[in-house]
């Protein structure tokens, strides 16, 4: 019998109930899928789950197009993370500057309010003309789509600092810079993270949309190629890959937040 | 005169998983009695209260009102907590009548009841005010009048005056005693404040630390109104303090 670490064993014991429900829930989905697949035919083809999963795991070693599925995923993730990183830096700096300075707010806000309601996919044609067909245009779309959320939340965070905490820091002799770095910024961090969480989801959606419209690699491309070749299974493989990656991204994000915002959790 | 048992708690036990919080608690409250319950900080007071009100399922034991298992649909139990839970969109009068309307009291009777209790706590001139136009003590009076107006079989109070200044607290407590005497309502009053418990209660249950048991039951023979500086009052206060003191 293989040795399972004690920590993992405890985790399983504590979450037995929850795990059971996850298993039940996925079983239901698979059953429904199987039934739908058996009932389908003609124009509405739904490949059975087993075939899709087989194709999914085969794709780890056998390339779809030029790359294996992991390579496609890595390419997509690379685009997302680049765009998201730039958006984070710009969003946090702009948002906090708007929060602490009325002048910055007065200048930036009208432009910001104008850009905000434009959905990221509306930028795709322009982005392709500006940045070409490669990864750069996707990174731009991701940036445009996600930085608004980060900016708004950073702004809210910087605005909602408890004034009593600022007063307390002043009484203790803190300079303006120290008040900014030690009070305003940390106080805004939970807000920023809420924004990052949304922005990451949006980034992922924007990247997939950009890849579906035009690309030569990435998980969105898998779907487009599947459509062009009438390969239903490949489309489903692409969709599963998108779902799994999206889930992993938000899980990682939550873990990072839990680590950085330890003080924000409830006692014990 | 033989007074009836209103509330009977027998062998009440409450566990959260492996944690024993209430350990075999039994006591009775007589019809029309004012009972104070006082215990050390962190003694499971909230669990105690929530078990009494049926908010938590109890692990074992029973809680009977008039000899029947407590049923909030049948028995009228009113609560007063520290938060002033008035409805901000209702006037004082509407707030006081709100509890009555929940109990489906006929309109005419409801109007009489509301009138009587607004009068008793001095709210009548403020009947058309909204809660945000009132001071903290006035809000507390609205909550008290609302609770008494329904003439509940049992009124549970959880440290309602904790945040008020001492003088105001005594003023409101005197009003409370007055209402209680006029209405004959059975009151269970839970507090951390020993002086308050001795000032109000006809009987005092002293709780132990977790797992909570009843450490002692003290009858308070002092006549109302009580003098906090009287030697007999101080002696009783010291007795309770000795049972609780952890600080």
């Amino acid at each position: 019998m293989s040795r399972i670490p004690a920590k993992l064993q405890r985790w399983f014991r504590q979450n037995r109930q929850a795990l059971l429900w996850v298993v039940i829930s996925f079983s239901c989905l698979l059953a429904a899928w199987q039934i739908a697949s058996m009932a389908s035919g003609g124009r509405l083809q739904i490949p059975p789950p087993l075939e899709v999963f087989q194709a999914f795991f085969t794709a780890f070693v056998k390339p779809i197009g030029q790359n294996t599925i992991l390579e496609h995923a890595a390419i997509s993730l690379g685009r997302v993370l680049s765009g998201f990183a730039v958006a984070t830096v710009v969003g946090v700096v702009l948002g906090i500057a708007m929060g602490v300075s009325d002048a910055v707010y007065a200048i930036a806000n009208p432009i910001f309010e104008f850009v905000r309601p434009i959905p990221p996919i509306a930028w795709i044609p322009l982005s392709i003309l500006w940045f070409g067909l490669g990864s750069a245009n996707k990174v731009f779309i991701i940036f445009i789509g996600s930085f608004t959320y980060i900016t708004i939340n950073s702004y809210e965070g910087a605005r909602n600092v408890d004034p009593q905490l600022i007063g307390a820091a002043q009484m203790l002799g803190a300079s303006r810079l120290r008040i900014f770095t030690k009070i305003i910024f940390p106080s805004a961090v939970p807000y920023i993270f809420a924004g990052l969480q949304i922005a990451l989801g949006v980034s992922w959606a924007a990247d997939v949309a950009a890849e579906i419209i035009y690309s030569q690699s990435g998980v969105g491309w898998i779907i487009t190629m599947g459509m062009n070749n009438g390969n239903y299974t490949q489309i489903m493989v692409g969709i599963i890959a998108i779902g799994v990656i999206g889930y992993l991204l938000s899980t990682v994000m939550r873990a990072v937040e839990g680590r950085l915002c330890r003080w924000n959790r409830q006692a014990k | 005169m033989q007074t009836q048992t209103k509330v009977k708690v027998e062998h009440l036990v409450k566990r959260f998983g492996d944690l024993l919080v209430l350990d075999d608690v039994s006591f009775e409250v007589k019809q029309g009695e004012f009972l104070c319950i006082v215990g050390p900080t962190g003694c499971g007071k909230t669990t105690f209260l929530n078990s009494l009100t049926g908010l938590y399922d109890i692990t074992s034991g029973s809680i009977l009102i008039n000899g029947e298992k407590v049923d909030l649909k049948k028995h009228s139990v009113a609560y007063i907590f520290q938060e002033y839970s008035t409805m901000p969109w209702m006037t004082v009068e509407q707030n006081v009548r709100f509890g009555l309307s929940l109990k489906h009291v006929p309109a005419q009777r409801a109007a009489q009841q509301a009138e009587k209790y607004m009068d008793l706590v001095g709210l009548a001139p403020f009947r058309d005010y909204y809660p945000d136009q009132l001071s903290a003590s006035m809000l507390q009076r609205v909550v008290i009048a609302r609770a008494f107006a329904t003439e509940p079989e049992l009124l549970l109070m959880d440290e309602p005056y904790g945040q008020l200044d001492t003088e105001l607290r005594y003023k409101l407590e005197n009003e409370l005693l007055n209402l209680w005497q006029q209405s004959g309502t059975t009151v269970i009053f839970i507090t951390h404040n020993i002086e308050e418990a001795v000032y109000l209660g006809q009987r005092i249950l002293v709780l132990s630390n977790k797992p909570t048991t009843i450490k002692k039951e003290i009858v308070n023979p002092l006549p109302l109104p009580r003098d906090i500086a009287a030697p007999a009052f101080i002696a009783l206060r010291n007795e309770v303090t000795e049972l609780i003191k952890w600080w």
Binding site: D162, Q164, L165, G167, A168, A169, Q170, M171, L172, G173, A174, S175, R178, K182, I183, P186, S187, V189, C261, R262, W263, N264, R265, Q266, A267, K268 | P40, T41, S135, A136, S137, M138, E159, G162, Q163, D165, T166, E167, L168, K171, T191, H192, N193, I194, E195, E196, I228, A229, I234, R237, N238, I244, W246, W247
Partner: protein, 255 residues
């Protein structure tokens, strides 16, 4: 038992009004003057919600009076400064800093080295009885412990005057007794001038060298009482209770 010590803080004819949302003004503080002596424990006691916190903010320099002046060591108070430490009712601890982080914030902000700041913070953490909790975050502590951190933090920036704004107002009656005893112990070990605001007469009498009774809205000084009861005081001592009833009779009839 009152040596003719030096006046450290002085307010003259302080007044402050605020504007209501509808534009009308209401006065919370009307013409208040008093002086505070070095190492004195002064309690500002009054019923109601009005004026006391405002007065303390003026003393701190966190707010400016409409009229009158606050002087510390003869110099007008114009802005917050570490020579006056504040302990807040809501604790106002920095939730993202540990106990050590909170307490050492003052000395670090004033430019002391990291080692020196930590050493000083450790001394006050030990003094308030929180040894072993240095790495806890505020939300991991009980209400009483959080307020101990608040006291240690205020002490640690080495203020001449400590301003305490109903620091035990949110605690239950028993924890409150404990904290009052603790505060007297801490104050006797590390003597500072303390100005303590409360609406609880037991607390006021337990702590005060001198008690200033304020009226409700607008707050003005009704009377001053030197409190000469020996320490440690007893809440049920006849003299204590007698004084308590006497002062209560002087208070405004509560609304």
């Amino acid at each position: 038992m009152e040596p003719a010590s030096q006046v450290i803080l002085q307010c003259e004819h302080l007044s402050r009004s605020f504007r209501r949302p509808d534009g009308s003004m209401y006065q919370v503080l009307g013409d208040v003057s008093f002086s505070v002596h070095e190492n004195e424990f002064l309690v500002l006691f009054g019923p109601g919600q009005c004026g006391k916190t405002t007065l303390l903010k003026l003393l701190a320099g966190l707010d400016r009076p409409d009229g009158g002046t606050v002087k510390m060591n003869g110099q007008p108070v114009a802005a917050p400064a570490p020579s006056r430490g504040v302990v807040y009712q809501t604790t106002a601890l920095f939730p993202w800093m540990t106990v050590m982080g909170n307490v050492s914030f003052g000395p670090l902000a004033q430019g002391l080295s990291k080692e020196e700041s930590r050493r000083r913070a450790q001394y006050f953490i030990d003094l308030v009885g929180l040894h072993g909790f240095e790495n806890h975050y505020p939300n991991q502590l009980s209400g009483g412990m959080q307020q101990r951190v608040g006291i240690a933090r205020a002490y640690c920036s080495n203020p001449q005057v400590l301003l305490m704004d109903e620091p035990f107002g949110h605690l239950d009656a028993q924890t409150r007794y404990m904290m009052e005893e603790e505060l007297v112990r801490i104050w006797q070990e590390e003597k500072r001038t303390v100005i303590f605001v409360t609406n609880n007469i037991e607390e006021a009498l337990y702590l005060a060298d001198r008690l200033i009774l304020l009226t409700d809205c607008p707050a003005v000084i009704r009377r001053e009482y030197p409190i000469r009861l020996a320490r440690p005081r007893d809440y049920v001592d006849p003299e204590f209770l007698h004084l308590r009833q006497e002062i209560s009779r002087q208070m405004d009839p509560a609304q």
